[in-house]
Symmetry: C2
Subunit: 362 residues, 2 copies
Amino acid sequence: MLERVAIVGTGLIGASVGLAAKRAGAVRVDGFDADGETLSKAVELGAVDHGAPSLHEAVREADLAVVAVPVTQLGAQVSAVLEATERTVVTDVGSTKGRVAADRSPRFVGGHPVCGSHARGPEHASADLFQGATWFLTPGPETDATTYQLVHGFVAELGATPVAIPADAHDRLVALTSHLPHVLANALMNQAGATTVEGHEPLASAGGSLRDMTRVAGANPRIWVDIFLENADAVGEALADHKRRIERVERALRDRDGGFLARWIGEAALNRRRMLERAFPDPGALQRLRVHVPDRPGVLAGITQALGAERINIEDFELHHFSPERGGTLTLLVAGEEPAARAAALLEAQGYGVAVSPVIEE
Amino acid sequence: MLERVAIVGTGLIGASVGLAAKRAGAVRVDGFDADGETLSKAVELGAVDHGAPSLHEAVREADLAVVAVPVTQLGAQVSAVLEATERTVVTDVGSTKGRVAADRSPRFVGGHPVCGSHARGPEHASADLFQGATWFLTPGPETDATTYQLVHGFVAELGATPVAIPADAHDRLVALTSHLPHVLANALMNQAGATTVEGHEPLASAGGSLRDMTRVAGANPRIWVDIFLENADAVGEALADHKRRIERVERALRDRDGGFLARWIGEAALNRRRMLERAFPDPGALQRLRVHVPDRPGVLAGITQALGAERINIEDFELHHFSPERGGTLTLLVAGEEPAARAAALLEAQGYGVAVSPVIEE
């Protein structure tokens, strides 16, 4: 691990970098934030050893400076750090990379840890935030090999998996994997919220699919407006393609073209299997168990204990709450038909009704 | 509970109706299915007491006949049951209601239990399938009050909440709450799957939002092609409105209109809060705990036991698996800042890093 790390912007991501770097063995973490309270909080939490009174003081002795300011200020802050230092390597954590790529210094490489952004502020920071996450790095033609190597090693020590990609390709990729899903979640949420059907509110009878698909709706306007604007061109391209795909479905519905719809759903099933193969060694073996459970403390413990004692590994686990009176539905994924059958038998012995089905249908 | 219930079509839904009716006290459940194997399986599972050799024999002595055949055969099968009987009340469980509403008999009322359809076949049936679920009923002008009352009481005894709605309003409502989300999930999955960005596959770096939003992609083509075709007009209207909403976002991106985007995300946040208020008494108090956990048996039991012993109620619970090597992220919802802080302290005492944040941001 590096000896001296500087964090510029000590909010959720910056403070988490500090905590993770300390845990991985960094000797000293200096921090600066334009907001004094955010900086004090990061110091108090142990994410920063020394809260510096200026950007210059924070970064001047650092081996690596990590710039974790809002996306609109990234370009200016990265330039300021490069100017304030002579040997310090500089990276950032912005979720779009096109603009910051303009900083053509041998000492700079852009970065983007993919770790969600449900919260803001150092008080939500965690040394575990990057564990298992992809951390994109966007070396440019001027980036020194030693710069890349240093940042690559640093993010790997924080528990992330570094993945190199050109800055513009990065922005088109995240437009698809993150920004387009966010646009669709917001659009769907507002469409369902704006419509009432003869006095019935769609939101009152929201099924699982609407709940799943609007999980990120309404998230962090202060962060997301900037992300959408910074990546407006790539998001616009993704939306244009989306509209063409929706128009193809509209045509199939008008023409009552069941053949197209069947092929289209089948293609989605194949794509979903490919996506799951990245997370699970054998998604075809995954079984889904659905269990209705009451809403009271201890229920989950009873279920997970019983499966744990039998060495049945729960691959994925979801409880969707209906209401205090009616309880919720617990969905478990278990790998393999035999362990799934044993799990179902154990839960049935506890008095639960269990429905088992394969995750990927043939 | 009714004495004699007949099930026409003994697949997942039909067999679950049989199991739930038996548990609620039905004296005898007769069943018929055009597929002999499906019928035998339902008898074997105890969902049906007597597998009848014909539709006529199954329904003729029944107080209530529940028609649970694929959506394209509903109209014909409901008519056949009405013709075969004189006093039997008839309902169906189809997820679109426009066509079956043509059956204008005083003895008929349409129905639709909203309970997901991840699986097919009686072997996945469960007496708990309808517990806490909305069960739409679509009485027409000819429906007798006694017919409505009988079916209303029956579905309530199965654990569902009956909600009356006109058939055409039902179809527009589910176009929004279920069919539109399914179209968007399939479209998004295929767009992410069809595109590679300079050799990088979006599916390989799918973040949480893409995973959440494609949960239902590729589901049950045999069921969903029929649903889309049966409800093509209402789904088409929902898609046209969706496209207009996407075009508004495209315009805002082109014009770099941050004000619109901020209002639009804020509106989505309000709508999401309204939706969550239907499931949680006080969604504003909900706190989200994020914990990185290794992939091994017993981990969930340890966590849920610790919280259960402290009487901390977990409102919602998700484990998203990364890989066997890297483990996964556990997300818990806990109501109230104080219980959330206690939960975080307990988990930290077990050596986990925990990030806490409010579910609904102000």
